[in-house]
């Protein structure tokens, strides 16, 4: 019984991590309808920046996390301004080719710089180990992840639903032309959103090094996971991707634990079934065209 609960908790932590990693993609792919397969590369950037800062420059882990966010966001905004923005209106095939190209480049580049072995980020000792809650083993680090990601999710939800920026973003996505008619600077809104999504991915990348593993193939390995979160979750709100992340996280952890050999098989099958059954995602309407 406690194993079940521990697994459940691990699954939730994993799922929340996935959400933070993928929610930027929920906006670019789900709302802006841009097929960005390179989203994982931004996460990897954050992860590696954090790893270098902590392991080589001796920064404290918590100080390196914001830097992971910032570095990915900066890379994101630079690429958005230079490249991505020219492709918003292009065909999905072009977007796919372009982002695969970026993935290949990032994989090879990171491999070249750091080597292909898995990277570990040295965690502060207070985050190591487990403690018991009513007999259920709760990993300290995973608890931290749940707390951070939970806070982020709540903030995000508030920002999108309550602030002026949130309504501008929704207007810009719904009808870019009408939005710019209303005096909204659409390219700026897009660029900022894109960068913020990349930043979150970077933060997620740093947090996930311990759990998902960080190596140059990260963008390829987890590409499908991010896509699942967005397409299965839908994008009418961030609740959909959030729930999808949780399901995926719990399902993946449970799958690996109980049917170790069939784990990925189950997830891919489920994904295909859901996409066929509800092409617009389990939790609502996507802006898929």
């Amino acid at each position: 019984m406690t194993a079940v609960l521990t697994n459940l908790f691990d699954g939730i932590a994993y799922g929340m991590l996935l959400f933070v990693l993928a929610c930027g993609l929920a906006v670019t792919l789900g709302l802006m309808n841009f097929v960005n397969l390179a989203h994982g590369a931004f996460a990897m950037t954050g992860g590696y920046v954090c790893a270098v800062l902590v392991n080589q420059f001796g920064w404290p882990f918590f100080a390196a996390l914001p830097l992971a966010f910032i570095s990915s966001a900066v890379v994101g905004i630079v690429l958005e301004r230079l490249l991505y923005r020219h492709l918003y209106t292009r065909s999905h095939l072009d977007q796919v080719l372009f982002s695969i190209g970026l993935v290949f480049m990032s994989v090879a580049a990171v491999d070249y710089i750091t080597g292909s072995q898995r990277v570990f980020i040295k965690l502060p000792s207070m985050l190591e180990g487990q403690f018991d809650v009513l007999g259920v083993g709760v990993g300290r680090y995973r608890l931290l992840i749940v707390v951070i990601c939970g806070l982020l999710t709540a903030t995000l939800q508030l920002v999108l639903a309550r602030t002026r920026f949130g309504s501008r973003l929704r207007a810009a996505v719904d009808d870019p032309r009408a939005a710019s008619g209303l005096g909204i600077n659409v390219p700026q809104v897009f660029a900022f959103t894109f960068a913020f999504g990349c930043g979150l991915a970077g933060l997620g990348g740093a947090l996930s090094a311990e759990i998902l593993g960080l190596d140059p193939y990260f963008p390829l390995k987890f590409m499908i996971y991010f896509l699942i979160v967005v397409t299965v979750g839908g994008s009418s709100s961030i609740t959909g991707p959030f729930l999808a992340s949780l399901l995926l996280g719990i399902g993946d952890v449970a799958g690996k634990y109980y049917v170790p050999k069939m784990g990925p098989f189950v997830i891919y099958t489920l994904m295909i079934v859901i996409l066929i059954w509800r092409p617009n995602g389990l939790f609502g309407r996507t802006a898929m065209r």
């Binding site: 792919l29 309808n33 097929v35 490249l83 020219h86 492709l87 292009r90 999905h92 095939l93 072009d94 796919v96 080719l97 372009f98 695969i100 190209g101 970026l102 993935v103 290949f104 480049m105 990032s106 994989v107 090879a108 580049a109 491999d111 070249y112 390829l220 590409m223 499908i224 896509l227 699942i228 397409t231 050999k261 069939m262 990925p264 098989f265 891919y268 099958t269 994904m271 295909i272 996409l275 066929i276 092409p279 898929m288 065209r289």
Partner: protein
């Protein structure tokens, strides 16, 4: 000419063989004799060309974007490998066809999942199917040999006459013959009303249905045919290299394939073949510069192609041949821009 004969003439415009096409195939054959020491790499190019031809059928003609075409390649590869390994079908040609049919069956079965929905759903579903097969192959490693792949495949002579030799000569001619025959078939198909209806569907599915084209049926048919082609390509891979391992299903294979086709241009059949040559040469070149990291450059090529614009790129590349033809022939250029019309 009567108006009716005139129409026939114009409608068959693309279906007629052009001098450039004949030259292309003569050149391919000439290569076989000009570079006897490079059979292995040329076989690879032929196989890749066939694989790219397969995705051109669905992407270039029917507009179906796939991120998991390696699924069919892999099925073909493993089928051929298992048939030979267990001595079920020893004659390679027959095994090749059976392997292709195996892939076609899978293609048919999954086509129902793929043809529905929008680009994004298609991307995800095709990718998902390939990943699924890879996971399955890994799970049943007692059958597939897991990461080590199938070991100890021995190929019998083709038709009992032509044994595979260590220089890859037989393998090359065998592959080239398969490519040529399948190319002829594809060429026939795309210039038929059926093939034209695929282009109509790609251009405007709404209008296609509104003139009575059964859109789903046509897409299922071409997807199945493309799967057959990809299966043959995979089977050729196993038969000529005596290898089949998990990476036949890999995402990178599907992604590289898109690049191959994009380099050559979609929707005129030769794109995949030309793309295969260029891609392989680029790969060689990049491996010379940075042996381990050639993928970086492949990625860069993709990014550059998209940023410059595929159509524009091909106009630039074809500018010279177009100019030449216009000068020499004193007529309107026949080498057209891929994507809008054939050569």
């Amino acid at each position: 000419m009567t108006a009716q004969a005139d129409i026939g003439f114009h409608a068959r415009r693309h279906a007629r063989w052009h001098a450039g096409e004949i030259a292309f195939w003569l050149l391919a054959l000439a290569c076989a004799f000009a570079f006897p020491s490079r059979y292995l790499i040329m076989t690879e190019i032929v196989r890749l060309g066939l694989f790219a031809l397969s995705i051109d059928l669905i992407l270039g003609y029917a507009g179906i974007v796939s991120l998991g075409h390696a699924a069919f390649f892999g099925i073909g590869a493993y089928s051929a490998g298992l048939l030979a390994l267990h001595g079920i079908i020893n004659e390679p040609l027959l095994a090749l066809i059976v392997a292709g049919l195996g892939a076609a069956v899978l293609g048919f079965a999954t086509s129902f999942l793929v043809i529905r929905g929008v680009d994004l759903t298609r991307l995800m579903v095709t990718l998902g199917i390939a990943l699924l097969l890879e996971a399955l192959a890994e799970r049943y490693s007692d059958i597939t040999g897991g990461t080590d792949g199938l070991q100890g495949i021995e190929m019998q002579p083709i038709l009992g006459l032509f044994a595979f030799d260590m220089f890859g000569r037989t393998g090359f001619f065998y592959s080239l013959a398969a490519l040529f025959l399948l190319f002829l078939l594809a060429r026939r198909v795309v210039h038929s009303p059926f093939g034209l209806s695929l282009r109509a569907i790609k251009n405007n599915p709404l209008r296609a249905a509104a003139i009575g084209i059964p859109v789903h049926k046509r897409l299922i048919a071409i997807y199945t045919l493309a799967a057959f082609y990809a299966g043959i390509a995979g089977a050729l891979f196993t038969q000529t290299t005596a290898l089949a391992s998990l990476d036949v299903f890999a995402f990178e294979r599907s992604a590289d394939l898109l690049l191959v086709l994009i380099i050559g241009g979609t929707g005129y059949l030769y794109g995949g073949l030309i793309g295969a040559v260029v891609f392989r040469m680029l790969q060689e070149l990049f491996s010379i510069i940075t042996p381990q990291y050639w993928q970086f450059w492949i990625g860069l090529v993709l990014v550059v192609i998209v940023m410059v614009g595929r159509g524009r790129l091909h106009r630039w590349v074809l500018w010279a041949p177009n100019w030449l033809i216009a000068r020499l022939g004193g007529r309107k250029a026949a080498v057209a821009v891929p994507e809008t019309e054939g050569p």
